[in-house]
Structure formats: C-alpha cells, structure tokens
Symmetry: C2
Subunit: 202 residues, 2 copies
C-alpha cells in the first residue's frame, strides 16, 4: 500500500507541500480540510489561485501588482508625485504602505543585484526607474532595499546611474528598532544607529 490510499490525495498533498514552509503533515491536514468543503468552495479556492496567476498585471509605471494598466498608487491623485521609494518586491510596497507614513510613489525592482544567483542590473527594473526621473520630474529617490551586501550593491549601482540627473537620493534609516533593548541589538545595527544619530527633539 502507498503512503496514501488515493493517488488523487497523493497528488494534492504533493502540490500543497510544494509551498514554502508546508511539510507533508501540514499539507495533508490542509488538503483534508479542503476535502471536507463543498465542491463549489474548493472550486472557489482553486479558481482564486489560477485567476490571480493568469489575470494579474503589473503596473507599467512602478511594476507593482495591479488589476489594471496603472496600480492604485500610480493612478492616485492624492500622492506626492515627486518622490519614489525603491523596493525589492511587492511585499515591501505593502509593508511601507502599512506604516501609513509614506505618501509618495514606488518603484519595484523585482529583486536585487546578486551575481551569485546570476541576477544582474539588466534583470531588474533599473532602466525603467532611471527613465522615470526626468519625465515625471522626480525630486527624491528613497532606497528601501534590504540591508544586505546585495542590497547595498544595488543601492550603489542605482546611485551611480542617477548621477547627473540632479535627483536627491536618500535611504531609509537603520537603527535600533522601536521598543528593542540595546543589549539585544546586533552590533552593526547599534553601531549604525550611533553613527547616524539624529537631533534630539522635545
């Protein structure tokens, strides 16, 4: 006897466990949960995944996920259109949006430069970022890429590409997280937070 009494079940568990962080046991639990639903509910579940993959589009301006040609941010009239926040992927757009502290535009690179993974500048949306600066009259580009060697490389590469456009280039502050104790903060972060200390306001 196989591990499972049905090859259909086996196939479903195999697909479910192909998702990141989902092992065979969890996959079986999730699949058996689907099996307890009505056929219409399972069709709705499966349909949502296939529709997303087949029908989702990417904003032609900032390359964020979108249902139409322009994403909600790029087509909004209430955003500051002189600011671009450069992020690695679509999750990062959501993270910044969730802060409620940013009202400018975005540019999703689709990754960071990583020679070890074979990802060069040409694989990322860097040309399209540079091409936005003058026509859109952008005044500031804010780097919000990960604080890794790849992120730093990408920051530096884009910075060089922007030289001469006159645009201001900044990056998000790195430092001790709000609420964190100094003794549990890693040395690099704590060191940066001292070097980049800010004026004390009351």
């Amino acid at each position: 006897m196989n591990e499972y009494p049905s090859i259909l079940l086996d196939a479903a568990v195999r697909e479910m466990s192909s998702l990141p962080g989902i092992g065979r046991k969890t996959a079986l639990r999730l699949v058996l949960n689907l099996l307890r639903r009505t056929p219409e509910e399972v069709d709705s579940f499966a349909g949502a995944m296939t529709r997303l993959r087949h029908e989702v589009r990417y904003c032609r301006c900032c390359h964020n996920l979108s249902d139409s040609d322009l994403c909600p941010v790029c087509s909004s009239h209430s955003r500051d259109r002189h600011l671009i926040c450069v992020v690695e992927n679509v999750q990062d757009v959501m993270s910044v949006e969730n802060t409620g502290q940013y009202n400018g535009l975005y540019h999703v690179l689709g990754g960071v430069i990583s020679p070890i993974d074979g990802i060069g500048p040409g694989d990322l949306e860097i040309d399209s970022l540079v091409a936005r600066i003058e026509p859109e009259n952008i005044r500031e580009v804010i780097f919000a890429l990960p604080a890794t060697m790849e992120g730093d490389t990408t920051n530096f590469y884009i910075y060089r590409r922007l030289t001469g456009t006159g645009v201001r280039v900044s990056q998000i502050a790195r430092g001790v997280a709000v609420g964190n104790e100094l003794e549990y903060t890693d040395e690099i972060t704590l060191g940066r937070s001292i070097v980049n200390r800010t004026e004390f306001h009351t």
Copy 2:
C-alpha cells in the same frame, strides 16, 4: 488604497488564509510563491485540489478514501480479513498503517458521537460496521478512537451494538509513550498505564 494593490491578490489571500492555521501573512507569502511560478504550474496546483474534491471516492466497505469502489486495504489479498480496526477518520488509517504493526481491515466512522456538536450515532458509519461483522466473519473489532469523552461514548455505543454477535472487542493500549519520562506524563495516562500493566518479558 486597499490592503492589497489587486483584488485578485486579495481574493487569493482570502482563500488561502481560510485554511486552518494559515494566517494572513503566511497566506500572502504562499500566494506570492504561486505567483512566481509558471501558469501551468499554478494550474497543476489548483487542478490537483479540484480533481481530488470532485473525483475522490470512499471505499464502499470501510469508507476510507479511495480512487475506486474498494480501497487498497479492502481489496488486498494479504490482509487479515477477520480483524477490523475502528478509527475516527482517514488520517487515523494512515497513522495506523505507518506503524507497520497492523495487517487487518479498517472501518472509518467519519467522526465520533458528540451531542454538543449535534453528531449522533446515525451520522456515523456505525450501522455499516455492525452489518459487516457476520457476512465478513469478523472475529475481532479493535477500537482506536480518541481517548476523549466523545471517543469513550462512541466505544461504549458500538460495544453495546456488537453484543450478541460473538465478536471479540478490544481497544488500543493507552500508556506512557515510548521514550517519555514519567515526570512529564499526565496523571491520567500514567494512572491507566499502571492499571493496565502488562507482563514483563525478557
């Protein structure tokens, strides 16, 4: 702006997070993983779920999941056809099979008696179990239901129904798990393991 830049994404995340133990953040991560795959791969993922739900069958004899009229266990010629292990659901069949210690048949009740959830004997595959005893010449029924009040109630109900058939009724041993320390074992389990102690063999 919505939480997500796309209503398709929103729908997919909502469906994914309807699975047990999958929160919004995990659901987003899983959905974005699907989004990075080819359309064919996503179709394969979704198709496995819908095919399972629409095409899976239940063994007409033991009610385990099956691709055909009889499940692999019931149609096997190498099993002991005089033994039936009574379990709550299809996962339990897999758990017992994985031990490699059981070579008899199964009967999947589809739940346990639970008045609080409105589940009575008529909602479970109890009649069909009782109906198997004589024609199949069953000699022993082994209860492997959960050690809860509902499981005990169900055991007792089935036991009463089997009175007069002459079938032997047993239940799986409860006791201190192999490898567990006594001090971390709950009192009820430890107590049962003393009451139901077995002969020491060398």
